[in-house]
């Protein structure tokens, strides 16, 4: 109870914190389609999905609701709020703490609630690849019982051209309690004593463990956005399931898009809500700027960045490239007239030089041990017309 109160206070603080020049954005999806839930009757369904995102500095708040209406007055609602606080990069790590509250409501059936909170650590090198590890604790209430949950996840993502790929491996453990009464089929009848149990009911706890592996991709092509995911659930105590989802949206106007989606959603072992297959089409209204703009703290020099250009001094700017196990590192760019400049070893795995670099946009590349010219580590590579990749950087 105390943990829930703390979490609730954190969420309230997050919601009422001074919104210093934050920005609100959101979407409203409205659609209809077919729905085939596990252990229930399939049919047509209409859904309304409002979603809001608010960002202010290192703080991000999300809220989402899904209201679905099926024939014969059966309706379901799923809602959730999430607060995320990110601290500025600590070395090459970005730390993130989050708290989440989710709930469901249903026609004539008691719903579920879940409160959870956790931390994540990301690599924040500014490159197109990143990795993270996270740990979450929480408690769900479903079917009249409280269920402690723990989740550990590791993941990684990368930009391959214009495709954003991500992989997540999440291990969830949840304790589900039930009352064991005499004659319950779950009770093993292995000996005489078990065959003649005590007449009183006993509270028993099942520990359910499962691992979800999910690969997802996101691709923007002209005015189309494609999202796809495929995953598999591994568990000794629940049937292994393949889950997948595919959605396509096409911009019709700056604030309006056509959306189509299909997929198979897995059941939630924490709250026992069943999975389902679905196909739906609809419209999406966009509210506010989708890209959050806020006032993060002024960037500070990151001494551990794999590539950096320092402030201008009389002798030029210090340029440092981290290259482990290299024997020679060269740099060329528009500020050297694309003549290769050999860097000097500096410390265990870094290379350094001083060059005059004017503020503005610059193109450059590095070559390690006489190999291919490429974008320095930690920068965003751009395709060169001449093959290979270089970097475009803004020097302040």
């Amino acid at each position: 109870m105390r943990r829930q109160s703390t979490l609730l206070l954190a969420l309230l603080w997050a919601a009422w914190a001074p919104p210093a020049l934050g920005q609100l954005s959101g979407t409203l999806d409205m659609g209809a389609g077919t729905y085939r839930p596990e252990r229930a009757i399939p049919g047509g369904i209409a859904s309304i999905v409002p979603a809001l995102r608010y960002t202010a500095g290192p703080l991000e708040l999300n809220a989402l609701g899904v209201y679905s209406d099926a024939p014969a007055g059966r309706w379901n609602f799923q809602g959730g709020t999430e607060a995320i606080a990110r601290r500025p990069a600590f070395g090459f790590l970005l730390l993130e703490a989050s708290g989440k509250a989710e709930w469901t409501s249903h026609y004539r059936v008691q719903g579920t609630t879940t409160f959870s909170g956790g931390v994540r650590a990301y690599t924040a090198t500014g490159s197109r690849t990143r990795a993270w590890v996270g740990r979450t604790f929480g408690r769900a209430t479903a079917l009249g019982a409280r269920r402690p949950l723990r989740r550990t996840e590791v993941g990684g993502s990368a930009m391959l051209g214009r495709v954003h790929l991500a992989f997540t491996l999440a291990n969830t453990t949840v304790d589900r309690s039930y009352m064991l009464t005499p004659g319950d089929p779950r009770e093993p009848v292995a000996d005489t004593i078990a065959a003649y149990p005590e007449p009183t009911a006993q509270n028993q706890v099942d520990r359910l463990a499962l691992t979800d592996a999910v690969l997802s991709g996101r691709w923007r092509f002209r005015s189309f956005d494609f999202d796809a995911s495929v995953g598999r659930r591994f568990s000794r105590s629940t049937p292994e399931t393949v889950i997948w989802g595919l959605s396509v949206s096409r911009d019709l106007a700056p604030t309006l898009a056509l959306v189509g989606a299909a997929g198979r959603a897995g059941s939630d072992p924490v709250t026992s809500v069943p999975g389902a297959r679905y196909v739906a089409v609809g419209l999406r209204l966009k509210l506010g700027a989708p890209v959050a703009v806020s006032l993060p703290p002024r960037p500070v020099a990151d001494a551990s960045a794999p590539f950096r250009i320092g402030p201008a001094v009389a002798a030029g700017r210090e340029i440092v490239v981290r290259a482990t196990d290299a024997e020679m590192v060269e740099l060329a760019g528009d500020f050297t007239d694309w003549k290769p400049v050999v860097l000097h070893r500096w410390g265990a795995d870094s290379w350094r030089t001083l060059l005059p670099v004017s503020p503005g946009l610059h193109r450059l590349a590095v070559r390690i041990d006489g190999g291919e010219w490429r974008a320095p580590p930690g920068t965003r590579p751009v395709e060169s017309e001449f093959g290979g990749q270089v970097a475009e950087i803004v020097v302040e």
Binding site: G26, T104, G126, V259, A265, P299, L361, W373, E392
Partner: protein
């Protein structure tokens, strides 16, 4: 006869001047024919009021990356066209670095109208950093309309350059976005819980 002598002298004096007109960086790094072809594009650009330096740098980049002569000339010609479009978008008052940045933005798929709007919102401030950040966001997969809107919002509020850079960094940290709370689009709400 004196006239012929004067003419010969003038020709001798003009010869070094003509060779000086060719950028020595090109002649040092490219073969003579390619350097001449690149120089012609540079001269044409400068005659039209466009900067020649980005074109020289493009050729030198190609030389360093080991590109073929034809590919170098084609890249320089292509950049010339982009600079011309950038000039059309930003007008005669744009600086050379701004034109270079704008050429990159157009190559990334941004509309000239976005650059004009940005220029109207920052009439007395350099546009290089906002344009570079805008290009970067689009290259990172942010839809051009969304990226433009975010950058224009900052420009409208008169924010300094480092906040544009901060915006880009913030997006890099956040990843490529996605559905709110990771939920797939239009997935219906789940049915009631089932005791298993």
């Amino acid at each position: 006869m004196p006239f012929v002598r004067w003419l010969a002298l003038a020709a001798l004096l003009a010869l070094p001047a003509a060779s000086q007109a060719q950028d020595t960086r090109l002649t040092e790094r490219l073969d003579a024919a390619t350097a001449t072809r690149v120089q012609q594009v540079v001269d044409s650009a400068q005659a039209g009021g466009l900067p020649g330096e980005p074109l020289v740098q493009k050729a030198l980049e190609g030389a360093t990356l080991g590109a073929s002569d034809d590919r170098i000339v084609a890249a320089v010609q292509s950049l010339h066209g982009q600079l011309r479009r950038a000039r059309e978008a930003l007008g005669g008052g744009a600086s050379d670095p701004e034109l270079t940045a704008a050429a990159g933005a157009l190559r990334a798929g941004l509309e000239p109208s976005a650059l004009r709007r940005l220029q109207s919102l920052r009439p007395d401030q350099p546009l290089v950093v906002p344009i570079a950040v805008l290009t970067d966001l689009v290259a990172e997969g942010v839809p051009p309309a969304d990226a433009t809107r975010s950058v224009l919002d900052l420009a409208r509020d008169g924010r300094p350059d480092d906040e544009f850079v901060a915006l880009r960094r913030q997006l890099q940290q956040r990843g490529a976005g996605g559905e709110p709370m990771g939920r797939p689009a239009l997935r219906p709400a789940a049915d009631p819980p089932v005791d298993q």
